[in-house]
């Protein structure tokens, strides 16, 4: 039973990984690519790790997988925010079709 559940979680995670990397290719902008790729691949890898935990049980491999889930959930959003902030400050232009840019408005407000 837990073997089948683990396989289902691993298949869901693989689908999320592939479609996240497809978004990394197809989307038009640094920020869009960052959003699609980071969310989808973090969710997919955490699902693969949870499937590993379900298939291995409460042994060394499963507990290490749980630790790795907590670590990824903590660190990947921090890295994504750092990349996005660095790209915006170093002057990477937005896609021409994007609607609003709150960060530039905030910076103009601080200057005034």
């Amino acid at each position: 039973m837990s073997h089948t559940l683990g396989l289902i979680f691993i298949i869901i995670g693989l689908a999320f990984d592939v479609f996240g990397c497809l978004g990394l290719i197809r989307l038009p902008d640094v920020y869009n690519r960052l959003q699609a790729a980071t969310k989808c691949v973090t969710m997919g890898t955490c699902s693969i790790l949870f499937g590993t935990f379900l298939m291995a049980g409460f042994v060394a491999a499963g507990l290490k997988a749980l630790m790795c889930i907590v670590f990824l959930m903590l660190t990947t959003p921090v890295a994504a925010h750092a990349i996005s902030r660095g790209a915006h400050r170093s002057g990477v232009a937005l896609w021409p079709g994007s609607v609003v840019d709150r960060y530039a408005e905030d910076q103009e407000g601080e200057r005034e």
């Binding site: 683990g6 396989l7 691993i10 995670g13 693989l14 990984d17 592939v18 996240g20 990397c21 497809l22 990394l24 290719i25 640094v30 690519r33 960052l34 790729a37 980071t38 691949v41 973090t42 997919g44 890898t45 693969i48 790790l49 499937g51 590993t52 298939m55 291995a56 042994v59 060394a60 491999a61 290490k64 997988a65 630790m67 790795c68 670590f71 990824l72 660190t75 990947t76 921090v78 890295a79 994504a80 750092a82 990349i83 902030r85 660095g86 790209a87 400050r89 170093s90 002057g91 990477v92």
Partner: protein
């Protein structure tokens, strides 16, 4: 024209995924190989996703694209190590995954700080 591109792309993607799951690439050249279970074939799907990341690293218009792709590549390797852990039953592959996640996080933060400070000229 745009619809044609979407149809061709989806046919290629579905064909790749089915081909990887049903009949992996080395069996075309060496048919006498021992047959893999599903987890052995899942490694090929992660390699496909990693190939997409390598395309973005190669063709990124700015430096931020390349940093994003390297970050995503590191997370994919963690999933690769998890599947190796299950399919071989050796728990030390998971240690490699944890260490790789930590190293990738620190490297990405350092690259983002460098990008924020001065900006690459490309």
């Amino acid at each position: 024209m745009k619809k044609t591109r979407w149809v061709i792309g989806s046919i290629v993607l579905i064909g790749l995924v089915i081909g990887i799951i049903m009949y992996p690439l080395p069996f075309l050249f060496f048919p006498e190989l021992p047959h893999l279970d599903f987890l052995g074939r899942a490694l090929y799907i992660i390699l496909l996703a990693a190939g997409m990341c390598l395309y973005r690293i190669n063709r990124g218009p700015t430096a931020a694209d390349r940093i994003v792709a390297v970050d995503i590549f590191g997370i994919l390797i963690v999933g690769f190590c998890a599947i190796l852990t299950v399919s071989t039953g050796r728990s030390w592959y998971m240690d490699i995954g944890i260490a790789w996640a930590l190293q990738s996080f620190i490297g990405t933060l350092a690259l983002a700080k460098y990008l924020e400070r001065r900006g690459f000229e490309e």
